[in-house]
Amino acid sequence: MLRFATRRLALALLVALTVSAISFFLLRLSGDIAIALAGEGARDIDIEAIRAQYGLDRPLLFQYGEWLLQVLGGDLGTSLFFRTSVGALVLDKLPVTLILGISSLLFALLISIPLGVLAAIYRNTWIDRLALSIAVVGQALPNFFFALILVMIFSIGLRWLPVSGSGSWQNFVMPTIALGYYVAPAFMRLVRAGMVEVLSADYIRTARAKGLSRRSVIVKHALRNAVVPVVSLSAVQLGYLLGGSVVIETIFALDGLGFLAYESITQKDFPVTQAVVMLLSVFYVLLTFVGDLVNAWLDPRIRVA
């Protein structure tokens, strides 16, 4: 167990390191931040001054090493745009994104698990086909398009929900739906496929041969085994939701990490971009780790003997 944890942690570190290096060099090699920082109307001397001020004139590898040392010391650097600590900035935006990510995940699970189970039980019936159509259509609609339609209906038409902001729970309703519905099909398919497979498993026949009730067979014996892969997918998808919230956060002016990232990208505020990308990758690795733990807890075959 401890070995496993340390191995995973080492992997997380290695992944984070690689991601940070890739993003650092990509961001740095492809443009001159000094010009971006100097802003409209800056003259060459202004740019030179900025370059010197931020140490951008030194070799890239040196800059990376320095940055890495800083990060290891717990300092993510200073935002070039906001001129405040990146760590504080990111921490400030994190809650909104976390709330959005988790609520979308829950929303996705809430609609996909029952649908998936029903589709599997009533395989090849209209229920199955309905569930499948929902999934297929859901995956086909671009989520920004869907989000805008939600706005048209619920904010402008019905005036039930506020368009933008992050002040109250109402602000999260549409973003949650817009983001969650997009990942729901993946879950639904997984649950359905898992249930179909599990329902034809020998141990389900055993359970039925024992004379157990249909409900107990489905809920206790089948679902329990079918949701195991859902857990790891949830972990992965949560990572995706955190990263994929860029579009949705921009549309709903939800002031979270995704939006921060988008802004930092357009403003070439690369320490922030870098930090967000790295944070998300660490999240991803940690989440998969958590997913494995939960899986192990659900599936005794993996559990510690």
Binding site: I35, G41, Q53, F82, L89, I156, I251, A253, L260
Partner: protein
């Protein structure tokens, strides 16, 4: 909203810092003008300079201006305003070490000197006719003691000025709340109206802003594109006001020796481009009300922007094609065009160029990336805009692109010399003549394609009473609710 006398204002971009010296976006200028005061105020209707923190001023010599300061003014934190504040602020920002974002606004200042508690002198490095203009715009005065203590960062976190509004809350990148400064001094040309609070929310997506207006979640937005603004005009509870701004739109053409598009070195090709674009139609159909077709690359109200000697070019695709053929490009010509905003305008230009056989491939970039290309001499055609920092003087516009500065990709020494002469001459007649000749020369050789001025559309709840000015500055202090 009207009920609690507050205005909810959505803007699409966050300022890097609230300290007006450390941002270069419009919203920063707007906040700056509300929270701080400058020495001088230019009346937006009459363009007349009035005393603000200074009561009067006089020119001591070519490089020196002396200001008599207003007494009895206090900063939001209670600090009294006097000459030390002015001297400290101007000397601080003039020092390149301190890294003020827009150096152009401050680089002309040599130093500020205290004469007595309420008299200061501002000395420019060279002869600088536009000094008053700058002092009435971007050069806000900070409280010296506080600023010395907290620096630009502290100023961003807890801004303190003398202005008609004070910042009561600031969530970077998200929202800024301004509240009326009850202790604002009497007799300011920025006369205070009834608005109690201004609730500024950063909403990056234009459609979200429109949606907020349509669902009455916001009271005031600006920079609304023409088409949407016109459509919102149909909505009963919204009003749309448009106004011209100082922002000019133009195209640059790389005529340098090593231009990646040698065709542009041919004056006939440049003239062909000039004739190919139906600027009138684009201006009226796409740019919108208040847009004015320009003949030279500066804003007409700017001092020295005299187009009277410049030749004009009309929309004439036939002539354009003929010129191209004459230059040897009858079979077509492919050019790259870089742009960074107003994409639909660029698209329209590309459409017109296509019609005469010029295939312009768009390279739409972030501003910084675009400028990097231009300065590296890699750009061919550019589609640019320039706001002159709302400085109403030609020295803030034309010379930037034609005086051999980094952004100059035509480099005609004659033009440079004329501009230099204009920049350093105090005597208005002679100054004007120099600029006029320079502008004529540029237009004659088509070193750039002047296009139009950008209007700005403001959309507001219909019961808000406000005026739009060409300097793109909504003045919340003078707004009011209609009954």
């Amino acid at each position: 909203d009207q009920a609690n006398n507050s205005i909810r204002f959505a803007y699409d971009q966050a300022p890097e810092s609230i300290d007006p010296y450390f941002n270069n976006v419009r919203i920063g200028v707007i906040i700056g003008q509300h929270v701080w005061d400058t020495l001088v105020y230019r009346d937006p209707s009459s363009n007349e300079y009035k005393g603000l923190l200074a009561e009067s001023w006089e020119r001591i010599d070519d490089r020196t201006l002396e200001f008599k300061l207003r007494q009895g003014v206090t900063f939001h934190n209670g600090e009294a305003f006097n000459a030390d504040d002015v001297v400290y602020t101007l000397n601080f920002v003039a020092d390149p070490e301190n890294g003020v974002t827009t150096q152009q606004n401050v680089a002309w200042i040599d130093r500020a000197e205290k004469v007595d508690d309420y008299t200061v002198r501002v000395i420019s490095k060279e002869v600088f006719p536009a000094a008053i203009e700058y002092l009435s715009g971007p050069l806000a005065i900070h409280p010296n003691e506080y600023y010395e203590e907290v620096g630009p960062e502290g100023m961003d976190r807890n801004p303190v000025g003398t202005g008609p509004f004070k910042v009561v809350s600031n969530e970077p990148g998200k929202a800024i709340v301004l509240e009326k400064n009850e202790a604002y001094f009497e007799g300011s040309p920025k006369e205070q109206g009834p608005i109690e609070t201004v609730d500024i929310r950063i909403i990056p997506d234009r459609q979200t802003q429109v949606a907020e207006m349509l669902s009455q979640g916001m009271d005031f937005v600006m920079h609304v594109p023409k088409d949407q603004a016109e459509q919102m005009e149909q909505v009963p509870f919204l009003q749309v006001v448009s106004g011209e701004t100082m922002r000019i739109v133009f195209m640059q053409m790389n005529t340098l020796e090593n231009s990646p598009a040698p065709a542009l070195k041919d004056e006939r090709v440049r003239k062909a481009i000039m004739h190919a674009i139906d600027r009138e139609t684009i201006a009226s159909e796409i740019v919108g009300a208040g847009a004015r077709v320009l003949d030279v690359i500066c804003f007409p109200s700017q001092t020295g922007c005299d187009a009277s000697a410049a030749p004009t070019y009309d929309y004439d695709p036939e002539k354009s094609r003929a010129l191209l053929a004459e230059a040897g490009y009858g079979d077509g010509l492919a050019l790259d065009i870089v742009a960074y905003r107003e994409r639909n305008q660029t698209e329209a230009i590309i459409g017109y160029l296509k019609a005469v056989g010029i295939d312009a491939r768009l390279n739409f970039l972030q501003y910084a990336a675009m400028r990097e290309q231009i300065r590296a001499g890699e750009a061919e055609l550019t589609h640019q805009t320039w706001g002159s920092f709302s400085v109403n003087d030609v020295s803030a516009s034309t010379p930037v692109y034609f005086k051999f500065e980094a952004d100059d990709i035509t480099r005609n020494p004659e033009v440079r010399d004329l501009l230099q002469k204009g920049d350093t001459t105090i005597e208005p007649e002679a100054r004007n003549a120099a600029y006029r000749d320079a502008l004529a020369l540029i237009a004659e050789h088509v070193y750039g394609v002047p296009l139009w001025s950008l209007p700005v559309y403001y959309v507001a709840t219909s019961d808000l009473d406000f005026t739009a000015y060409p300097d793109e500055m909504p003045r919340f202090w003078e707004m009011d609710w209609k009954d």
